[in-house]
């Protein structure tokens, strides 16, 4: 009576039943700092005593393992796969399976990969699962809304008009979808920069501007060492935002 049914969507809710909240770090635009914010947010949550997971859904351009200095290699499997425990967080990325290889994925392959990861990963009890989103408004954005409808979005933009142009389209999509948006974080703000573009963008969608993170020349050299990432001015500026998000 039923034919060719994909069993995976049915088990996703179970897999996330121990997860108190899902926070997607989104932008639409690439290079605004989604991965830096998502990874550092997860580290700051752990620092604050939370049980935090991090899932890198930038499936063709994963980078969170570089930021965290996480080992690549297969996660252990028992009743599914166990996200890697690293720097106090539970971490899963396609890079664990792919190593340094490259797989170009069409939309249907993206959906399949995402469903497979959500179906087999055992996150256990988490205060928050942070999801690092890919750039663009494509299959991942639509699938997250479809399969994780309660996920709340933390939207990142830089002050550049090019970033705001794309982030506006992302906010417009989230608004059409009725997806919860926690607010907008401004990243890579130069000291002298008094532009108000990001604040205006947030206001145009009735969203909070949650704060500004400085362009931090020391972030690059801290990459790969979690305690050094946590010690950057970038992380310091993100800390109050993390407290608010994980506390709320």
């Amino acid at each position: 009576m039923v034919h060719d049914l994909d069993p995976r969507p049915s088990v996703i809710r179970d897999r996330l039943s121990g997860v108190a909240r899902v926070v997607c770090v989104s932008a639409g635009k690439g290079g605004v700092g989604k991965s830096s914010v998502a990874s550092t947010l997860a580290l700051l949550g752990a620092e604050q005593g939370m049980a935090v997971g991090l899932l890198d859904l930038d499936l063709t351009g994963p980078t969170d393992h570089v930021i965290l200095g996480a080992r690549l290699g297969f996660p252990s499997e028992e009743y599914g796969i166990d996200p890697e425990r690293h720097a106090g967080i539970s971490f899963l990325s396609v890079a664990h399976f792919l190593g340094m290889d490259a797989a170009a994925l069409r939309g249907g392959d993206v959906t399949n990969t995402l469903l497979e990861l959500l179906a087999i990963a055992r996150w256990g009890a988490l205060d928050a699962l942070v999801i690092d989103m890919p750039p663009g408004l494509g299959d991942t954005a639509l699938d997250v809304h479809r399969y994780l409808p309660k996920a709340a979005h933390l939207v990142v933009s830089t002050p550049s008009r090019l970033a705001c142009e794309s982030v506006r389209r992302c906010l417009s999509l989230l608004s059409k979808q009725g997806a919860p948006v926690l607010g907008v974080v401004e990243n890579m703000k130069a000291k002298a920069d008094d532009s108000t573009e990001v604040a205006e963008l947030a206001a145009a969608f009735g969203l909070r501007h949650l704060g500004s993170l400085p362009r931090d020349p020391d972030l690059e050299s801290a990459l790969g060492t979690p305690e050094r990432v946590r010690a950057t001015a970038f992380a310091s500026a993100l800390r109050p935002i993390a407290t608010e998000i994980f506390g709320s």
Binding site: S10, V11, F74, N112, A119
Partner: protein, 140 residues
Amino acid sequence: MHELALAEAVLSAAREVAEREGLERVTKVAVRLGALQRISVPTFEFCVNEVRPGAGSKLAEADVQVEIEPVELACRPCGRHFGIEQANALEGDRAEAVHFIPELVHAFIACPDCASVDFEVVKGRGVLIASIEGEGGHGA
């Protein structure tokens, strides 16, 4: 045994269907295992029995039939169908990567005619419920 998670998914989906269609019990669940993912029939049967809910559940008595579906890939640029030999030749970490996430085959296999990595997995990807049968209730 990450296959336990997929076996759970199959039973969970079958239970959902049974509830939606008002079945009293599920009599049969036919599962197709795509050869790309390299899950053996005995392994998957073992996993299903490990996670199968006990007496009283709609799935307690279901006959879960598992069969392997061969791999078929189709090259988009040139149209060539291929896959069985290439998938069998995967070894070590590559086979393991594809075992966890079949789409990663795109990193490891190319069309034997035109070398393109742009191919479709037409058949034999992963775990699929081919059909569900049940009885009792209004949906029988």
